[in-house]
Amino acid sequence: MSSLGFEQFPDYQVPGVSHADFSPYESNGGSIVAIAGEDFVVIAADTRLSSGYNIHTRTQSKLFPLSNKTVLASTGCWCDTLSLTGLMKVRMQSYEHTHLKTMTTDAVAQMLSITMYNRRFFPYYVSNILAGIDKDGKGVVFSYDPIGHCERATYRAGGTAGSLLQPVLDNQIGYKNMNLNGEEPPVLTKERAVAVASDTFISAAERDIYTGDSVLINIITADGIETKELQLRQD
């Protein structure tokens, strides 16, 4: 669809002239999930990059560690993802040089929101989820819309299969609208968070054509970042 306004005017059929529509955006697909626990956070992303019905690569990580306790998962338009994460890295390094300390996860969350809103009128076409350990040692997840609206949450799914994954998380992690017979839901353990994240991706790969190949899972604790990989359907 052309955004240059040509559609308002009658189209004079000039022989030999063809008008090509250019869209600056392209969806390269992929899904991301993040689940926060008491003192850890699990963030996962599939590794497929696609364009329409074609696959660019099956082995591209969408997880960007910004520090040893903050990871950004970014999906959508891959060029915007690279540009945005590159900018974030540079600004974090500047911060470290000036303030002689690493940025806290909350500070990174705010800065990401501002950075994205700066492009309010030509947005980064990305679906971001930021996960990390905050200054109190708790796991925290921030989710974003393309213009930087930031929301703190315990769990979040995003990307092309976001609407398939989010209800699963609501049920398995949030225990939403379930009849628990008055019992308190069990405290979330790291193993359960990883298991739920893995299962949601396996389900997403069944129905979403843009999600598949493999999942990279980062488990962030105060001791650092641990990585796991899980194979998915390749179709």
Partner: protein, 292 residues
């Protein structure tokens, strides 16, 4: 140095073809405490002496700039801060654009160009700080001496700041051995060089006592070694190691008029230093060779 009629402005030449304001700026470097830099085969070490007292925390003498580069400063700290910000943003910009580390030689050229502007405009003044820049890139280890005159020297080893002559003498004596040194030995040489810049405590005759009252900061960068400042415990360990290395420390000779340090009234008042290289009042000792 005494005032003469050609030293009012940085844009005024003296009849001898010197810029006195630039030379006066070089004196500012001697106000800072001693710093030492030395280069091995695969690493560069920076050692700096900071005067700490009960009332204040010692000044930051070594500033990391990037993973492959760091500086040691002597002189006006505020000017050093501005230069370190310039170096940092240059390195960061280069990384963002080229996904690679800024080659040290080129960065020094750009820094030199920036500093030269201040020596040629009437409305600016030279930066009153000397830097020892330690960096590791594709060309290997680099050590540069940056002075307010905007002249940069590529050095094998160098020392700047007050009472740096003793350190320079030590470095000169041991220069040949640096290429064969391990990183640990290099650090020990650096610490010993700094200790050699300290005057002997006349009462006890021990240099160790004088050195203990000021604190030493050490940093190293090299192959497979990102720029790292050593912790206090590590510095203590290396200081102990230097004691085991033997009495390589020579007692500091009494200050004589030929010395370029001017803080002990060693020079008769009114004497002008005649530099051999023109424009720079600080004589460059022979071993600080320029590499092509």
């Amino acid at each position: 140095m005494f005032r003469n009629q050609y030293d009012g402005d940085v844009s005024v030449w003296s009849p001898q073809g010197r810029l006195h304001q630039v030379e006066y700026a070089m004196e500012a470097v001697k106000q800072g405490t001693a710093t030492v830099g030395l280069k091995g085969r695969d690493a560069v070490v920076l050692v700096a002496l900071g005067k700490s007292s009960e009332l204040s925390v010692a000044m930051r003498k070594i500033i990391p700039i990037d993973e492959h580069l760091g500086i040691a400063i002597a002189g006006i700290t505020a000017d050093a801060r501005v230069l370190s910000r310039f170096l940092h943003s240059s390195c960061l910009g280069y990384r963002y654009n080229y996904n690679n580390v800024y080659p040290v030689e080129r960065l020094m050229t750009n820094l030199g160009n920036k500093m030269q502007c201040t020596t040629q405009r009437y409305d600016r003044r030279p930066y009153g700080v000397g830097l020892l820049v330690a960096g590791y890139d594709q060309k290997g280890p680099n050590l540069y001496q940056v002075m307010p005159s905007a002249v940069n020297y590529n050095c094998k080893a160098q020392s700047i700041g007050s009472r740096s002559q003793g350190a320079r003498t030590y470095l000169e004596r041991n220069l040949e051995s640096f290429l064969e040194c391990s990183n640990d030995e290099l650090i020990c040489h650096g610490i010993l060089a700094i200790k050699n810049s300290q005057p002997i405590d006349k009462l006890s005759g021990e240099q160790e006592k004088a050195a203990a009252s000021s604190n030493i900061t050490v940093a190293i960068v090299g192959k497979d070694q990102p720029f790292k400042m050593l912790s206090e415990e590590q510095v203590e360990q290396y200081t102990k190691m230097t004691n085991d290395m033997g009495a390589a420390a020579q007692p500091q000779p009494p200050i004589n008029p030929d010395d370029d340090d001017d803080d002990e009234d060693g020079r008769p008042p009114g004497a002008l230093i005649e530099p051999e290289d023109g424009g720079a009042a600080e004589p460059q000792v022979g071993f600080a060779l320029m590499e092509h």
